[in-house]
């Protein structure tokens, strides 16, 4: 028994990241850093037109360069399946998934049209610059405002998508009301831009197998996709992603670099690496552009009488991406009459997709801008307005929440922030030359739970391994896994090794939707409990049965020992139990029961909530906005690790500030091309833009929501944050900016 003196790690401890040292010392290898023998480097050539046909690709000069092995195009690529179903990954949306190098069609600007494969990256990149392409152009449209004329409600819905449910008669109630507002809000296209570029290293094993190191959020999704597209049997495809440098949803569906790298490996029967450039990161998945038309009406006391919350988002010509935009406003506020219509509109771009809090970051944020306008129109303090219209139930489908401590979040956030010092009139607060504004918004997200399997393995010395195919996309999954395992078996976290990111490990869904902590935590606990049960069975083999046949609920596990609760002096070590039973290891693979096993349970709503308070200071003459303070109070039930959880909220808030002030893809619609395709020109907050952010986790016990009583926190931090900032800008300046981001030019006119 080694180091039994270390204190057992518990759920709720602010544990440091177990992978932190590996990451900051460069020992953590990412997809583009995995070695392979005789590796070929693929450089992707992108189209310069938005729509049309490739007439010819002139690659003679490129092929003449020493070190170039192949130029792979739609003309010479290996055979590919004909039908769409082969290309549908587990998270696909209705439509015809994009197939790179399939034929001569150009569907969007910067579409991959060739891959130069060479012995070195430098040769591949140089040769790629020599390729000339002749196109036949067709008329394109990338302008969403133009596309809106043909917006539609798609027939086939994305799996899991539910249309908003109307109640009462919102149009009549709105028409009859005297106190009301109506406004259109606009969110531009956002690109995920995780720090790690999308990259894949395919290792050609030579025996019909491939090992694929991919930047993905779901190695088993990629495994299934590659098997279906390229005709491998699934057991011949092993996909690994031990470390992922951020993803924000961009790695949920298999991205085109993994397709291209695998296609090239198959063509050349060699190992291939493909890394996209930062510019190419603007050629694929993105948060859709959105318009939201909100009309609200109240009675004289400020009670909402009508909510009309219509929205449209952009998708490609070839797939129908949908997200839950409208429901949040209808769920969160008590109001008898509410309606929403959600439509999508096609533009000539790649298909939009999930990006951090998909749907809510758009729909709740824009709705909360309208709520602020309504509160002012009703002449009621914005916080008071939200309390007047508070709904203890999910107001859209009338189901109770497993828990909703939003009232406490408002109260604690307001107290910490100093909301009571706010004077309500716009332009009424100043600090020297600057106008001061205090704003508020509400956040809401799903508390998801997904069944997954975990393998646990205990050694006699107390070393414990827990493993699943799931991914840590930078959120702290390794740490949370190890922490829950340590808690369950009473071990210090140093004794636990967590393994993730390998399709050959037990089944796990892609990491997304803030589901992972609750899901993997529950699976780890179930597996480790099963280990403990086996330990007890083993302990009964000890002569004299010192634990007297105790069951799990009769004992405590700590310091590598099992002790009777009733008589802590009676204890035995894990090692003694295992040796008595002749066990060298105890291994278990287990999956927790489905949450919705009983029909009664499924009739409840499961959500996280937040209250965000923002202070801005505005130099009105110059339009300079500084976000000087954010307080965010989050109701997310039980927090496994306050440190990693806080980091998730901080990251979400920073992204929300960027949504309010900075992020915007600028497209030249004449050529259908995004023009600010680098992080120098596509702005996200710099350090100077971020000041004080305070995170509060309010007490919200909820044993019902998930097996561990945990709600995920990866996304709630971004939901509503931009609205709090923009509402604060209104309070400071009296100006309503309804088209994000609020760049300084939008505050200049006076």
């Amino acid at each position: 028994m080694t180091s039994p003196t270390l204190t057992p790690t518990r759920i709720g401890d602010p544990v440091d990241r177990v992978d932190g040292v590996a990451k900051v010392t460069g020992q953590a290898r990412y997809a583009a850093e995995q070695p392979a023998d005789r590796l070929l480097y693929g450089w992707v050539v992108s189209s310069s037109i938005a729509k049309g046909r490739i007439v010819a690709i002139h690659d003679e000069d490129a092929r003449a360069i020493s070190g170039v092995v192949e130029v792979m195009t739609h003309v010479n690529r290996p055979q590919l399946p004909r039908f769409d179903h082969s290309y549908k990954d587990a998270l696909c949306v209705p439509g015809s998934p994009f197939r790179a190098l399939y034929d001569e069609r150009i569907l969007f600007n910067a579409q991959p049209i060739a891959v130069v494969l060479a012995d070195s990256l430098e040769v591949a990149r140089y040769a790629a610059s020599l390729i000339e392409v002749d196109y036949e152009r067709e008329t394109h449209n990338t302008d969403f405002t133009v596309a809106l004329a043909d917006r539609f409600v798609p027939q086939d819905k994305r799996s899991g998508f539910e249309a908003p449910k109307n109640r009462g008669d919102a149009q009549s109630a709105y028409g009859a009301a005297r106190c009301k507002i109506a406004a259109d809000f606009h969110l531009p296209t956002h690109y995920h831009n995780p720090m790690e570029l999308h990259a894949t290293t395919v290792v050609w094993e030579g025996d019909g197998r491939i090992t694929v190191y991919d930047k993905t959020q779901g190695p088993q999704n990629v495994q299934g996709y590659l098997s279906a597209v390229f005709g491998f049997s699934p057991e011949h495809v092993r996909v690994k992603n031990p470390y992922v440098g951020g993803a924000f949803g961009s790695g949920l569906r298999p991205q085109y670099q993994v397709y291209l790298a695998t296609l090239a490996a198959k063509m050349l029967e060699r190992s291939v690496r493909v890394v996209l450039t930062r510019q190419q990161m603007f050629s694929h998945v993105h948060r859709p552009e959105a318009v939201q038309s909100v009309a609200l009406a109240t009675d004289p006391s400020g009670r909402l009488q009508a909510i009309i919350n219509d929205a449209a988002t952009s998708t490609s010509r070839f797939e129908d991406y949908m997200e839950t935009v409208c429901d949040w406003g209808l769920m969160n506020y008590a109001c008898e009459n509410a309606s929403a219509e959600y439509t999508i509109a096609r533009v000539d771009t790649y298909t939009s997709g999930d990006m951090r809090a998909p749907g809510a970051a758009t729909g709740m944020t824009l709705f909360e801008l309208a709520v602020d306008e309504m509160a002012y129109a009703a002449n009621i303090d914005p916080l008071e307005f939200r309390l007047i219209n508070y709904s203890d139930k999910n107001a859209m489908d009338d189901t109770p929440f497993t828990s909703k401590a939003l009232r406490e979040a408002y109260a604690q956030g307001a107290a910490k922030f100093g909301w009571s010092r706010r004077t309500p009139a716009p332009r009424s607060m100043k600090d020297g030359r600057e106008l001061v504004g205090l704003g508020l918004a509400t956040g809401m997200w799903d508390a998801l739970f997904r069944q997954m399997a975990v393998h646990a393995r205990l050694l006699p010395n107390g070393d414990l391994e827990v493993a699943t195919a799931g991914s840590d996309i930078g959120t702290g999954t390794y740490t949370v896994m190890a922490q829950v395992a340590a808690d369950t078996l009473g071990l210090p976290i140093e004794k636990v090794t967590a393994t993730l990111g390998d399709s050959s490990l037990p089944e796990s869904p892609a990491e997304g939707g803030s589901s992972m902590a609750a899901s993997v935590g529950a699976a780890v606990q179930v597996a480790c409990r099963a280990v403990a049960e086996k330990l007890l069975v083993a302990a009964d083999q000890i002569e004299g049965q010192p634990l007297g046949g105790a069951r799990l609920e009769d004992v405590t596990l700590a310091h590598g020992r099992i002790a009777l609760k009733s008589d802590p002096a009676r204890s035995i070590s894990f090692g003694d139990a295992m040796s008595a039973a002749g066990l060298e290891t105890i291994e278990v693979e287990d999956t927790p029961a489905s949450r919705s096993g009983s029909s009664g349970q499924s009739r409840k709503s499961r959500n996280t909530h937040s209250a965000i308070f923002a202070e801005v200071k505005v130099d009105e003459e110059l339009g300079v906005v500084r976000v000087t303070r954010i307080v965010i109070a989050v109701a997310a039930a039980r927090i496994i690790n306050p440190k990693t959880a806080r980091s998730q909220i901080l990251g979400g808030v920073v992204m929300g500030i960027g949504m309010a002030l900075h992020e915007e893809a600028l497209t030249d619609h004449r050529i259908g091309r995004c023009m600010n395709r680098n992080l120098g020109e596509y702005h996200i907050p710099a350090h100077a833009d971020i000041r004080d952010i305070e995170v509060i986790f309010v007490d919200e016990p909820d044993p019902e929501v998930t097996p561990l009583g945990v709600k995920g926190v990866g996304e709630i931090g971004i939901v509503g944050t931009a609205a709090a900032v923009i509402n604060a800008i209104f309070h400071a300046t009296g100006k309503r900016v309804r088209s994000l981001p609020v760049t300084l030019d939008k505050l200049l006119d006076s």
């Binding site: 310069s48 610059s129 339009g623 030249d668 023009m675 680098n678 710099a686 833009d689």
Partner: protein, 337 residues
């Protein structure tokens, strides 16, 4: 990135000799050139590495001026005690630009010679007269939020992105160059070109000419100066508009004022009319507004950047107020004074 040969110049004469051939670029910090090569915008056949040349000192000049070696990094220049004490405007402007990592690598000569900023110039899939003469200007009628409002042509509306050069323009710095025909001195304000019909030429350097130093004249602008930079986030973004001001006051009478604008033209923008209009006048908001209008005389928007005309005027007024009050803009505290 194309293939190129590389030579490390052992001395200035060798560098000039090597640099006189066609399709050659000098390599100093590389913070702009290497980016452009990766994008296939710059495709030199030969790089002459000048980093080992003895041009890396800051030296006092007789008569009280200061000579900044071309290879001194932007960071070392900004944090040099003599620069900080005698030319605080320059230190401030440098620190308003880029990031610490870039300032540690970028050199003074390279800062002068960085290419103008434009989305289209950086994207070889689009039209650009600067990159591909005769192909047209994508930015005109396109995405042009960051583009010029002054001195543009129907060939090019790009802006020079430097902060340092805006301060140097206000300080009447001089650029020392050496070349195949010997040494010469070019006033900073005449160093960069307007695009005209030859937008591919950013400045008046001749083939083979190498910047060796920047001379700062012996003048005292330590009391009334400011560098005010407005941009789309509070750090690490190019200026939408920046204003460098130096001023000499006699009570509240302006004896001399110099104003240079950044982010609005193909070069740092000054106006003799605006400056002479302030000389002898009171340091008043009304006079500052008049100067702002004089300095932006002839400004033309391109659509997305129309707001920059009014923004520039307001920024000029504020910068003049800051300078007159002796309260220069901090580059760390982002509150605008």
């Amino acid at each position: 990135m194309n293939r190129f040969s590389y030579v490390r110049a052992a001395g200035v004469p060798e560098a000039v000799h090597e640099g006189s051939a066609k399709h050659v670029r000098f390599l100093a910090g590389g913070t702009n050139l290497i980016d452009l090569m990766k994008e296939n915008v710059e495709r030199p056949e030969r790089l002459v590495d000048i980093n080992r040349l003895p041009l890396n000192k800051i030296e006092d000049l007789e008569g009280g001026g200061l000579r900044l070696g071309a290879l001194v990094t932007n960071a070392d220049t900004a944090y040099d005690p003599r620069v900080d004490r005698r030319y605080p405007l320059l230190a401030s402007a440098i620190l308003a630009g880029a990031s610490p990592q870039l300032r540690n690598a970028a050199t003074n000569g390279g800062n002068l010679n960085q290419r103008t900023r434009c989305y289209y110039f950086y994207d070889p899939a689009t039209a650009c007269n600067k990159r591909d003469p005769g192909s047209g200007c994508g930015a005109i009628g396109g995405v042009n939020r960051i583009h010029a409002i002054l001195g543009a042509s129907d060939q090019c509306i790009a802006t020079h992105p430097s902060d340092m050069c805006v301060a140097l323009a206000a300080l009447d710095a001089e650029v020392r160059v050496t070349g195949p025909d010997g040494d010469r001195v070019i006033p900073l304000t005449e160093y960069h070109r307007l695009p005209g019909d030859e937008p591919w030429r950013d400045n008046y350097l001749r083939p083979g000419e190498l910047v060796t130093a920047i001379d700062l004249p012996a003048e005292d602008f330590t009391s009334h100066y400011t560098y005010l930079k407005l941009r789309d986030r509070l750090s690490y973004a190019f200026a939408l508009v920046s204003v460098a001001v130096v001023m000499r006051l006699d009570g509240d009478l302006i004896r001399e004022a110099r104003i240079a604008l950044g982010g609005v033209a193909h070069k740092p923008w000054r106006s003799p009319v605006a400056e002479s209009g302030l000389a002898g006048e009171r340091a008043s908001r009304a006079n500052f507004i008049a100067a702002a209008h004089a300095l932006t005389e002839g400004a033309v928007g391109q659509g997305d950047n129309d707001f920059k005309i009014e923004l520039a005027r307001r920024a000029i007024v504020r910068a003049l107020e800051q300078a007159a009050a002796g309260t220069p803009q901090s580059q760390t505290d982002k509150r605008v004074l």
